[in-house]
Symmetry: C2
Subunit: 353 residues, 2 copies
C-alpha cells in the first residue's frame, strides 16, 4: 500500500548538505519584492510594507506521530506542512509571505524522495504566494522530522488575537469540520486491511475522496482573509482550528475571559463526513468538535458585521459570546445545554488512553 | 558518567502539551518593548524599530547527531542551541531579539529534564537579551529534536551579507578557533574510558576547562556586533563560523565572487587547544580550519577600517581578499601556498569516511 513511487535511489550523502539544499530549492521563484535575501545567507532578510508588523509561528511534524508514510504521499506531506504552518498566520488576520523549513532525514531517504516532498512545498508556496526563505537540513538516526516556521505581516490595527472576543460577539467558523479526522480513520482502516492481506487492493471509494483530501492535502483559508480584508472587517478575535473546535473555543474563551455558547445545528459538517462517521459508529458532531487538523478559522465578529459576513457561504455563524467567563456550552438540537470539553488531539496524551 | 541529575521523574503526559508549555515558559520575562504578543497566540507579533528590517534563521539539533546526552548537561544544551541560532543573526551584522523553540520529545524525558533544558534557554535569553516568542512541543518515538528559529533586526544599510567582500578587503575573525572541536574529542575520549570501566572517574583536567566550555557552553559575539555598531563600521561581508573556517571562507569567496588568501601564523588558536591537539596527534591548524562549532564571526572590512578594528584584541586579521575568484589559499609559515579545502562538519558525510 506504500504510495511512494518506486524510483531510483540516490543517497543523500552523495550530494552533501549544501548541494542538496541548492538542488531542492533552485526551482523556487522569489514572489515578494519584500524578500531582499532568501536561502543562502546566515539569515533571510525581508522588508514588510510600511506600517506592517511581522508575525511568526513555528510547527514541528514527526513521522509516526503526525504522519504515516505508509499512506501519506510525500508531495501531499510537503503541501500539508506548509498549509498547517501558514494557517497560524491567517489566524492572526495577517498575510503569510515566508516559510523556513528544517528537516532531519534518516539515511532511508533518497534525494528522489526529498524531491517529491519539495514538490509539495513548492505547490503550496505557489498556491498561497509564499517565499521559501531558508531552512536547515540534517541527519537523524531514524524517521523524518520537519519544522516549518511561517512568517507574515499585517497592519497591527487589523491583527486579531485570541483575546479580543466581547460579550454578544458572533462566533464564526469557516468551511466544515471533522472531515480530516474521518479521512484519517479511513486511511488507518485501509492500512490494517493491507497488513492483514498484502494483496488486498485499497478500497479508496470515490465518494470519500473529499475526506482523504481534507486529511492528506488540506487547504487553508486565504479566501477568508481576503474576504474580511476587502470588506475592512476586523474580527474581534481569531484562532485556527488545528486541535478541534471544542479545544479552540475554550482557548478563545479563556484568553478573552468570556463565555461561549454554540448550537449543535449550526456546526458545519460535510455530508460525506456524516456518512463515514456513522460507518465508524461515531457521532458526526463529536468528530467536528474534537477531530482536529481541519485548518479552518474560528473567529468572532461584532454583531454589526453580521450581514456582511453572513453573505459568505463558506462562513457559518455557530453561536455567540456570553459574559459568563469560563462557561463554554453547546446547545443541542433537543434544546439541552452541555459543557464543551477539550478532547482535541493531544500530543502528550497518555499512551494507555 | 551521565551528568543528568537524579531527580524525580514526572511524565510529560501528566501535564499535557498546553500546561507543559505554560509551566516551562512562565518564568520568561518580556525584555523588548517590540514584543507585542509572545507565547500563547497563533503567532508572535513584534514591531521592530523604525527603519529596521527583520532577519530570520532556523537551526535543527538532533540527539545522537549534534549532541550526546551521555555528557551534554541539559542546561548547557538549552544555552547552546540559543547561542547557535542567534549567532546567525549576529552574522548579518544585525541584533537578535526573539527565538521560537520547537521540541520533539520522547517519553524517556521527564518534566524535570525539560526544566533543566529551559533553564539553559532562559540563561542564554537573559545573557543576550532575547525574548522567547513561541514554539511547538510534540512527541517523538525516540530521541530529542530541537529546532530554534532566531529573529532579529537591523537598519538594512548596516546589514552584511556573505556576498559583499571586495578585492583588498581585510579578512577578520573573532576569538580563537578549533577549541570546541578539541573539547568534543576530550569528551568522547572520556566516554570511551567510562564505557570500558564504569567505575573510572572522569579525568576532566582543569587546564582543559576552556575546551569543554567552548563545546558545551559556547558564547556568541554580541560584543563584536556592539563594537562595530558603536564605531559605525560596516563589514563588507560576514558569516558565522559553525562549520569550520575553511568551509566558511569558501562560502564567502563563492558568494562574493572573489579569491581568499589567509596566513597560517595569523589564525588564532588558544594555547590549550594547541596542547590537546598534540595529545591527539592532530595539527592544531587543521582543527582551527576544519573543527567547526566555534560560533565566531568571520568578516571582511575595507582597509580604511583597519586601525579601528585592529584595536580590538578579540579580532584577528588573518588575510585579505584577492581578485582571483575561486582561488582560496593558505600561506604557510614556511611561505608555501596551499589550497583551502572545505572539510568542515558535514551533516551528510558518508558513514564510511
Amino acid at each position: 500500500m506504500s504510495q511512494q513511487p518506486r524510483v531510483s535511489f540516490t543517497p543523500i550523502s552523495q550530494l552533501g548538505e549544501f548541494k542538496l539544499i541548492e538542488h531542492l530549492t533552485a526551482a523556487f521563484p522569489t514572489l515578494h519584492p519584500s524578500s531582499l535575501k532568501l536561502v543562502g545567507d546566515d539569515c533571510a532578510h525581508m522588508a514588510f510594507g510600511p506600517g506592517h508588523h511581522p508575525v511568526v509561528s513555528t510547527d514541528m511534524f514527526v513521522q509516526g506521530v503526525h504522519f504515516d508514510l505508509d499512506y501519506f504521499p510525500l508531495q501531499h506531506l510537503g503541501h500539508k506542512v506548509v498549509v498547517a504552518a501558514i494557517s497560524d498566520v491567517f489566524a492572526m488576520n495577517a498575510r503569510p509571505s515566508h516559510i523556513l523549513v528544517s528537516l532531519a532525514i534518516s539515511s532511508h531517504f533518497s534525494v528522489e524522495m526529498l524531491e517529491l516532498f519539495y514538490e509539495g512545498i513548492a505547490s503550496a508556496c505557489s498556491e498561497y504566494q509564499i517565499d521559501l526563505a531558508g531552512g536547515d537540513t540534517t541527519t537523524i538516526q531514524r524517521g523524518f522530522v520537519i519544522n516549518v516556521t511561517a512568517m507574515g505581516s499585517a497592519d497591527p490595527n487589523q491583527m486579531a488575537y485570541r483575546s479580543g472576543a466581547k460579550e454578544n460577539d458572533l462566533i464564526c467558523v469557516t468551511g466544515d469540520l471533522g472531515a480530516a479526522y474521518l479521512g484519517l480513520q479511513l486511511l488507518e482502516r485501509e492500512k490494517k486491511v493491507f497488513r492483514a492481506n498484502p494483496h488486498a487492493q485499497p478500497e479508496l471509494r470515490e465518494e470519500n475522496h473529499y475526506l482523504y483530501q481534507r486529511f492528506l492535502r488540506p487547504d487553508c483559508r486565504d479566501d477568508v482573509w481576503k474576504f474580511l480584508s476587502d470588506r475592512q472587517i476586523k474580527p474581534t478575535s481569531m484562532i485556527d482550528i488545528s486541535d478541534g473546535l471544542s479545544s479552540e473555543l475554550i482557548h478563545l474563551g479563556q484568553q478573552s475571559k468570556v463565555g461561549i455558547r454554540i448550537y449543535e445545528d449550526k456546526v458545519p459538517i460535510h455530508p460525506a463526513a456524516v456518512e463515514v462517521a456513522k460507518e465508524f459508529h461515531l457521532e458526526p458532531l463529536t468528530c467536528a468538535l474534537n477531530g482536529g487538523e481541519d485548518y479552518e478559522l474560528l473567529f468572532t465578529i461584532a454583531q454589526a458585521d453580521y450581514p456582511t459576513v453572513a453573505a459568505n457561504r463558506d462562513v457559518s455563524v455557530i453561536g455567540h459570546v456570553t459574559a459568563a467567563a469560563g462557561r463554554y456550552e453547546l446547545v443541542s438540537n433537543g434544546g439541552n445545554t452541555y459543557p464543551l470539553v477539550a478532547q482535541g488531539w493531544q500530543a502528550f496524551r497518555n499512551e494507555e488512553t
